[in-house]
Symmetry: C2
Subunit: 683 residues, 2 copies
């Protein structure tokens, strides 16, 4: 149609506004193939293989039910990715996607099995070959990541991939102890793990705040130690099968001899103190510990291990061993006497005797023991696997002793650090770089650890994803794959892709903002939410008191650990001060600053209407002030004007003050605005 | 903090823009109590009852497991509404919420049981009393709808409610035949039904395109008739229990003698033609019908009814009976001879003989028959319930004959009509208004019907919710509750509330827009999506060919049936032309029109990048043109300028052309812009 308009002018102002404020968010467009982890070898060709309802897969070679299930899940996911109803079995034509498996993988998935695959996509068909079903699972996920919409419909690019992992142990730990996580949370995260080729689910199952496994031998463990929130043995078996279907091992952890208050509620005789004990409702390190001096402790644990090692088929068994402060041992004269009698000079020595006994019990139950780096002693048995959480040094120490080890330091995804930080952390970087080839071979890989003080089933996905995909790439892809810009570009696409696995890491914010504001369209609150982050590291607890009954329903709980908008603004600012920004980038920076400056006027009236948002008044106000400083700095830089040094200094003071968390949140535009302001001073 | 700024001016233009374009969407604020359905009697008091982790419920009086489960689900939902972890059992204090139940409801829920409840909320506590568990379930949902965030935290207002339903039969039908709906879809919609006090789930289980129930007596029904997509008997039993826990009856429908192609694939001997038969892959009315002239047909159905009437405990059993075109009967000489022999003058008479036999079989299996209005004959047995889909007249005819009846005409939620339309449709309005009191008593209520040609598990929630809440109010609340503005205000809040039951009717659009565009932030596509609607009624099939393999992944599938933004714009326009609009409302209308006018420039380049969005090019262009006409009309009205009659006429022609669907979508701002343009002509 064509419009005939009268001779009157349209309101020019509004037109200009609309164009100016039309913001492009540097979206990750799916016009590139955004694989994560990047394959070991990949060669792109020309053209595409089109995806329509007639896509049909033939399974050839070795067959087992898991492959048939994998094919069904593949079509389910592809259906969510495309909205196409697949027939799965084509009556009329040859299958155009053949999957060939050479042979079986182990009945119980083992560390170091062949996970390689070869994926070849032509315009006319697809061929996936792998030595074992594990490689098939990985290859199917690669295909699913390659799917994109094109002018001709959904398609995958023509490509040849040879792929296999750099490390054999690529894990995610979820702490079900501090906040219980229902099976559906575990399962959707196993889906996410499969999508990025992680292969070990480390399940942290007991804590001071809860014992989460049904024991039939010692039922008071869950009856008194869990507030009713625990996994039945049937559920555990289902999770293990669910994980196996996805090429994922399940390694259970029962943390001993400390972090064990919940055990003592039902079985106080295990403890080193007089009791009675209650489930802990606060966070932190507690004084309670198992009594390593009594035979009855080990008799209990022997029977306990007999039950749970049968429940978890994996060859490895995690005994914890972290964070013993020894105070309950110190306070018990009988234990003190025992230590003296046995020449144990300190609590660490006492713990070492405990660890040695437990290790032997674990081995007696046909498992390979694993523990946090505290359990490493010079005489630790060579088969024990060390999980290093305190630093890369611990990892190096362990493998120099001949123990195998994996890295978790640097992969603590509960600490709200950036994807770039985790991505830069290499198991063979830092202290690991100086290891011999033989020692390096003892480094099994790494694990992201999701400790659960500050997560609930509602927001845990957002702490795990998408950042864990970057860790997965670090553990799978060649060491030289480390371009951070590329990682962030692909991470945005992968994050969207992960939504097809029922993960809520992108959608959770809006629903939480709606709830806290009582508004169905909380757009101004969203503007604030887009640029703030939870405190990094362990700072949160120092800012406010929390316990297990604290509602995690505030803005700090509703925003992702890393603000993508602030990160992009920071990148813009770097280009601007380096004199490399395009006019569009200058405009983009200005548009954002204007939005942040003007948001407070709109948001402020509604904040006190909700007890939850009332605390955001200073944060919202500060965002406006910081953005105002940023806009003036931008003006100065753009006009090459001379900044008033006194004004720069006083504004810098204000920015420093705004670095301080408000409402347990960091304003992430403060650092880039500081850079802008500093640059005006250097003219 | 205070900001020191340099003496330079901030860019005035940008500041003004930001303020001007800061749009308030007339959000439904949860500052009023937005109950739906409105209670029979309600008196608001002053103050609030605060909700915190110590909320504790005591169940008193009659007890049964369903009440304990209801209490657990109540805390689960309340946890989602507030983010508060509830302890459920308070050790330290008296429960502050008492629920008293006088006695049991029937073992199998019956039509017309006492569903009343009395809810009394003081600032210090809550008391819910009910005759039966059914009333308790309703009262708990009322409480959950009352929850809102306040400056003092989450709370419910002080209020006294006496409530009971107007109609005893308040249903939602879901068609699992045309598109199969997995159990999880059914269950989350049962949750939604409970939230708005619907009490009958009518499950449409067989269609030309699929037979969806496992039969052990006639296993070829599902084996050949379902493409593997059917409910196991175990799943059906679970759904029935799930529904019963929520105070909902499950009435199964097996549609006979037509809509039965899927039966004939495995059992062609039931049919009136020679066969062989395939599951239908197209939509529409087919010629195939059961053979009512052979005894073997009724022997089969007798055994079949024996099996399925045992599976579904409800007293009522729906036999369908709609849309027989008789062609297969007409084409069969044996059947024609039979009709002649028995003096059956037409196909309707033949169908009546079938219906009579089936009714008797249903009664023999101890069920009360129900059917669509086609089955009503002058001599239809008095116990048969008639579901009127073709008009209110059928309802009146049925009850005048002494049959009980319920209304579905006007509640066809698959037809993309407005909530206001459904809301205005009263079972005792229209032809029903002239009934005697005795006849009115035979009107049991009504049912929303979700036929599934154009829905998948991905978007079905959006076709059911929130509009079905308005129908639920029509069926529950007093007839005089009919203020449409109030309904829409409350519907927006209830829609948000329904998200706490895992329904995706609000979130599905974004994920579908992401998929079709390949963009993670498809904001320009969203602007277009916000103002378009699927065609009303049965127009969609005339615009494009569809069958069971058609992907439902286009914009028409991704937008709600009713555009809330267009509806609000329409309301604004009515105020403007009536001279009753405030300056803010003028500004709001202008802001929207500017956005719509300018969106195309931003959106247009990306549309051809996706085969799915490419078809939107003309629609996006037209939105801009229509908005441009609207802006000029607004200018003319605001300046009281004289419009050029020729220009008005030619623009009106353009608007008429823009009424025509593009890409199977209606542009919903065309009608209000027509009103604006017309108003300029009347100056």
């Amino acid at each position: 149609m064509k419009t005939f308009v009268s001779g009157r002018l349209t309101p020019v102002l509004l037109f200009v506004c609309a164009v100016l404020l039309q913001v492009h968010f540097m979206n990750a467009q799916s016009t590139e193939s955004a694989l994560m982890p990047m394959p070991a070898q990949m060669e792109m060709g020309d053209g595409h293989f089109s995806i329509d309802g007639k896509l049909s897969i033939a399974l050839a070679g070795y067959s087992e039910p898991r492959l048939v299930l994998a094919k069904e899940r593949f079509f389910e996911t592809l259906g969510r990715e495309t909205g196409i109803p697949f027939q799965q079995e084509s009556r009329d034509q040859q299958p155009n996607f053949t999957v060939t498996t050479s042979g079986p993988s182990k009945a119980v998935q083992e560390l170091g099995e062949d996970e390689s695959y070869h994926l070849k996509i032509w315009a006319s068909g697809v061929r996936l070959t792998a030595a074992t079903p594990l490689g098939v699972l990985h290859g199917l996920q690669t295909f699913l990541q390659l799917v994109k919409i094109t002018p001709q419909g959904f398609a995958v690019p023509v490509v040849t991939i040879y792929d296999n992992p750099r490390f054999a142990w690529r894990g995610l730990m979820i702490d079900s102890g501090r906040h219980f996580m229902p099976v559906e949370v575990i399962e959707r995260n196993l889906d996410g793990m499969e999508a990025v080729k992680l292969n070990v689910f480390h399940w942290h199952l007991s804590e001071d705040q809860g014992f989460r496994v049904e024991s039939t031998v010692f039922p008071l463990l869950q009856e008194k130690g869990s507030n009713g929130l625990y996994y039945s043995q049937k559920q555990i078996a289902e999770v293990i099968e669910y994980a196996r279907d996805r090429g994922i091992r399940v390694v259970p952890e029962f943390d001993m001899p400390c972090h064990t208050t919940s055990w003592f509620v039902g079985y106080p005789q295990l403890a080193s103190g007089p009791g009675p004990y209650q489930i802990q409702t606060r966070w932190g390190i507690f004084d309670y510990a198992m009594d390593p001096t009594r035979e009855s402790t080990f008799e209990f644990l022997d029977r306990f291990l007999g039950e749970v090692t049968a429940l978890f088929p994996d060859a490895y068994f995690h005994i914890g061993g972290d964070e013993c402060n020894g105070k309950e041992w110190d306070a018990n004269p009988r234990i003190q006497a025992y230590m003296k009698e046995h020449g144990l000079k300190d609590d660490a020595a006492l713990q070492a005797t405990f660890t040695e006994r437990i290790q032997k019990l674990v081995v007696a139950h046909h498992k390979i023991p694993e523990g946090w780096d505290e359990i490493l002693q010079p005489d630790t048995a060579r088969d024990v696997v060390i999980q290093s959480w305190r630093g890369q040094k611990g990892l190096a120490t362990a493998v120099r002793q001949g123990n195998r080890a994996l890295l978790s330091n640097g992969y603590y995804i509960d600490l709200n650090q950036s994807a770039a930080y985790h991505y830069s952390n290499d198991p063979l970087g830092g202290d690991g770089a100086s290891l011999t080839a033989e020692q390096k071979a003892l480094v099994l890989g790494g694990e992201a650890t999701m400790w659960s003080e500050f997560v609930t089933p509602e927001n845990i996905d957002s702490r795990i994803w998408p950042r864990t995909a970057a860790i997965a790439e670090r553990l799978w892809s060649p060491q030289e794959v480390r371009d951070v810009d590329s990682m962030y570009r692909r991470l945005a696409v992968v994050s969207q892709h992960l939504q097809y696995y029922s993960l809520n890491h992108e959608s959770f914010t809006l629903s939480m903002l709606q709830r806290m504001s009582g508004e169905s369209d909380p757009r101004n609150l969203q503007v604030l939410a887009d640029v703030v982050q939870p405190p990094e590291g362990y700072q949160r607890e120092s800012l406010k008191q929390y316990d297990t009954s604290s509602p995690l329903n505030r803005l700090v709980d509703a925003v992702p650990p890393e603000s993508e908008q602030a990160r992009q603004f920071n990148e813009l600012v770097k280009l601007i001060v380096a004199g490399k920004a395009t006019p569009e980038q200058w405009q983009q920076a200005r548009t954002w600053l204007v939005r942040w400056r003007d948001n407070d006027v709109q948001l402020q009236p509604s904040l006190p209407q909700s007890e939850i948002t009332a605390e955001l008044v200073p944060l919202s106000h500060d965002l406006s002030e910081v953005a105002t400083i940023g806009l003036h700095a931008l003006d100065d830089l753009q006009s090459h004007g001379a900044a008033n040094p006194g004004l720069v200094a006083s504004n810098m003071q204000l920015l420093k003050a705004a670095e301080k968390p408000e409402a347990v949140l960091r304003n992430m535009i403060v650092p880039p605005v500081e850079i802008l302001l500093q640059a005006t001073g250097s003219h």
